[in-house]
Symmetry: C2
Subunit: 425 residues, 2 copies
């Protein structure tokens, strides 16, 4: 293996070396052993809940003293009930089909049997923020897919992450997984994030799980391949041929059902021909759910003085709000809508609402995004909804994995050639 | 689209902007238009052969004056015969199945139809060295797969590349492809390579085509995703249960048939139980083909004073020779062979020669490389041999594409969702 040397802290170097060794052995474990380890982890999360909850209290106390918002404290919190739910999630992962080992061989004219075999990527580095349940989620998905997990959680959850990682490591080792299959980086020094992003000798893929800043930092600084997502500047285009009742229901669902996530809508683009009828109904219905609208001048001329409506500022288009807020733009044509999405979209989730067949086909064809939807809520762009069984992330990169990533996207393949002495002519 | 701004020369900025615009339109062209463009290019290469050959002579003269080796000058040379062969290659690409558009939809319980549709990556940047035929090869593969090609060739071939790019652009535009679908960067300033590697706003994938130095430079400096390959430190392990006649034929083929390529063997690992019998035969046969062997002390004790045998230096193991030279190591076990490959392999092509079923299975399972072969020459790790129809590169990266890359590996997918008003519960 040709190694690219970079400067790494001794902690990353030591854990990275262990991870490489573990990856080599983990790749050859059977699905039975990996699934048994997952069940052992699930059981341990319940059996050791008192220990975990006690440590979690320390993080919560520190967070409270540091003035963390209640919403942040809630994300940190682990209760016996939440641990039981986490354990169930792990058992659910265990029950999924093994993503490894499938091989489809074809026989070439010279008798060689050739095909691709699904194998683990190797070592997956995950950089995440305050929610300690990510420690368990990612460990489970990595074990299932035969990958070593090198975890770097946020400072706020550091004690909780440590006990969770220890519970996972203890259970996994006892179940026969190689030592070092799941490792938590203890240092919460920010410099370590950059070192992970550069550590090609130890890490095969980095998945950042967190806000837009983390994703941007990863893109800018990574030498290790990164699958990023998370930044969803999401549009719904209400065409002149939309069924307006359906459009209203979809618009409401896409904004209000869970506003804090990346597939929630950010901008409504409304065709002028239906704006007079649609916009007041939209503004009233969203207003009743406390959604603020930032509207262009054409929309404002229609909506007038409503309490939840104000003029859009230039930055509102192209912003991921992650809140009860949306921008509104009126357009004269499908082309203008497509241009707006091309300019402001982040390639995440984009929808058209229309009964016009040709408009729907053009939108599907011309919009370049991880998911393009016709007459459905953008909230469906999700691994669970798409039937992937488990979701690692929603990728907005184009290579390797796009949109919801399941277990298969944590694997790669190697070519297998079975010969009987063939040489090349 | 959220753009990451980097400092780029005006040439890259101008061509990158044109490339982005072209990519948006090219993605919607039909296979018929793309194939017609390929035929127009093939015809133009023949019709304009005098013009091309005349310009090529200027590069050859400059190369001769600059003291280029004859082998380099031969790689630069374009003759009417070579142009006709290039044109045939382009027609062959046109005849391949369209890699775009396939969609497999499934219907979810809520009635949503969901699936992945194959779409182009967008803009592909290719950085290559002296062979001007790469200009045509890559342009054809990119057009076929609906991608814009942004080409940066070597200085030695600059005039030839310019006329070839003009021939391609003229023919492609006349056949109805968007302007800017194929563009050659004119500047041969080395700084431009680094700028391309950083130009995430313009380029979706970089493919370096050249020597190990170029690949390393790309890995170290890229912010754009890069698929690298080319560096093949290739091993053949001759097990104690190998058929030695077959092993001799495979070893000879893998070293001698084409020593300058990445899937040629570099190190023979020989089990001690067969070393006494196998090594002298190997040394004699390879010696007759002028292959020099760099051998460890155990092999030297067996081979004694042969003209083509000398003691290995530490650097010989792990070296890609690309020449009539190979290293030889004697091992006591399959485990020792696996450890050697783990330490020195580059993840390209690795073979075991054995009649021992369990040894073959362990090797297939435990060696982590783009292609792992049993009882066959490593020279088979090749897109043409594997039946891909066309080969873009042989990737040693694990993400997106591994081993021979065909047209499909120049594509990505987007999720398509067809609804009838569904919202998420």
């Amino acid at each position: 293996m040709t190694l690219t040397m970079t400067s790494v802290t001794s902690e990353l170097a030591e854990k990275g070396e262990r991870a490489r060794l573990a990856a080599r052995r983990l790749a050859s474990t059977s699905a039975r052993v990996r699934d048994a380890a997952l069940h052992a982890i699930a059981d341990a999360l319940v059996a050791r809940q008192d220990e975990i909850v006690a440590v979690n209290l320390a993080d919560l106390d520190a967070g409270r003293q540091a003035g963390l918002a209640e919403s942040m404290l809630d994300r940190l919190l682990l209760t016996p009930k939440r641990l039981a739910a986490l354990a169930d999630d792990v058992r659910h992962v265990a029950a999924l089909p093994d993503p490894l080992g499938q091989t489809e061989l074809k026989t070439l004219p010279n008798g060689l049997q050739v095909g691709k075999k699904r194998v683990p990527l190797g070592v997956i580095g995950v950089i995440y923020e305050s929610r300690p349940n990510v420690t368990i989620d990612i460990a489970a998905l990595c074990i299932k897919s035969g990958n070593v997990a090198l975890l770097r959680g946020g400072k706020e959850a550091q004690h909780t992450n440590r006990i969770l990682a220890r519970v996972v490591e203890d259970a996994a080792s006892a179940a026969g997984l190689p030592d070092g299959s799941v490792q938590l980086i203890r240092s919460t020094d920010r410099a370590l994030v950059r070192e992970m992003l550069e550590a090609r000798e130890y890490i095969d893929l980095i998945i950042p799980r967190g806000g837009a800043d983390l994703h941007r930092f990863a893109i800018e600084n990574a030498k290790v391949p990164v699958v990023t997502g998370g930044i969803g500047v999401v549009h719904i285009y209400i065409d002149q041929a939309a069924k307006l009742d359906d459009a209203l229901a979809i618009a409401f669902n896409a904004k209000v059902q869970r506003p804090s996530v990346c597939n929630a809508v950010d901008t409504f683009i409304v065709h002028r021909a239906v704006a007079d009828e649609f916009l007041p109904a939209l503004a009233d219905q969203l207003g009743a759910a406390n959604v603020e609208l930032r509207v262009d001048s054409a929309a404002q001329a229609i909506l007038g003085n409503r309490g939840n409506v104000r003029a859009a500022e230039p930055g509102d288009f192209g912003t991921e709000f992650l809140a009860l807020r949306a921008a509104v733009k009126v357009v004269d044509s499908l082309d203008e809508a497509l241009d707006h999405i091309y300019t402001y979209g982040s390639g995440h989730s984009e929808a058209i609402l229309t009964e016009d067949y040709s408009a729907a086909m053009r939108f599907l064809d011309e919009v370049d995004a991880a998911a393009v939807l016709v007459n459905a809520s953008t909230r469906f762009n999700d691994g669970g909804q798409f039937g992937l069984g488990a979701e690692v992330a929603i990728s907005t990169t184009k290579l390797h994995a796009r949109g919801p990533m399941g277990l298969q996207e944590l694997t790669t393949y190697k070519w297998i050639v079975l010969g009987q002495g063939q040489v090349r002519a």
